[in-house]
Symmetry: C2
Subunit: 118 residues, 2 copies
DNA sequence: ATAATAGTTGAACAATCGCTCAACTGTTAT
DNA sequence: ATAACAGTTGAGCGATTGTTCAACTATTAT
């Protein structure tokens, strides 16, 4: 029996099933990209930040007080969110105001909370 | 000026904003639970496994061949998914067949891929 | 009985993550 | 100018994560 893959440690049991799946399967980059998006929602702090911003525009200090962590911690998380274009910021004097980038993020949050209430 | 929180290192700049948010804010457990759900989607391997199972019921070996990793790695990930009730399994002889638990998971995947194509 | 295969499990390891701390920039007030 | 404050950044840390490896159970075939 043939080994279907270099790194896998077993034989293909249902070759037809595997072939069908392989045919439709999105490429690795798509999985990686999508998992990186979900990663942003996979931490309570970031989730809380996004929830807060979905309600109202806030500056870094507001968020820090609300979450009970340092400005630095908030800023680090905001940077990750910014890199994935989930939030954007506007500087006004000494303050930097953050808000959600678009309604898609808001929708993902809403769906999530609706599901978790089921 | 008063320090609004023990662990935070700054003063409340917009107390009204913070108060409003605090009022509506889901409790920490909800954020934690929801982030744990998203965590399952936050890894390329698990994402691929769920995508595959959204197409067809598969045994562990099928998945291992399809992903090009060991049965053990697949099994570990399936355990995490099982614990959150995202997949369920049926033993048949030597094989254990996995499928998605419900259409909600399928929908989350679909939404994700649709968004990542934008 | 024995061997072979499917799958699970726990230990171990490298890699990644989230936070704190300290140092820094930039803006405002004195 | 100087001080105070908002925010960012990078190093460092403890904790978590994903994988491999080896040992194990359970089922099937010889």
């Amino acid at each position: 029996m043939k080994q279907a893959n270099d790194t896998c440690d077993c034989n293909a049991i249902h070759e037809d099933v595997i072939a069908r799946a392989k045919n439709m399967m999105p490429d690795n980059d798509q999985f990686r990209t999508l998992s990186n998006l979900y990663k942003m929602f996979a931490d309570p702090t970031r989730l809380k930040i996004m929830w807060a911003l979905s309600k109202e525009r806030m500056c870094v200090c507001d968020l820090a007080v609300l979450m009970g962590i340092t400005k630095s911690a908030v800023s680090h998380q905001l940077k990750s969110l910014r890199l994935l274009n989930l939030v954007h910021n506007e500087k006004e004097g000494k303050n930097v105001y953050y808000s959600l980038s678009d309604n898609h993020v808001r929708e993902m949050l809403k769906n999530g909370f609706e599901h978790s209430e089921e």
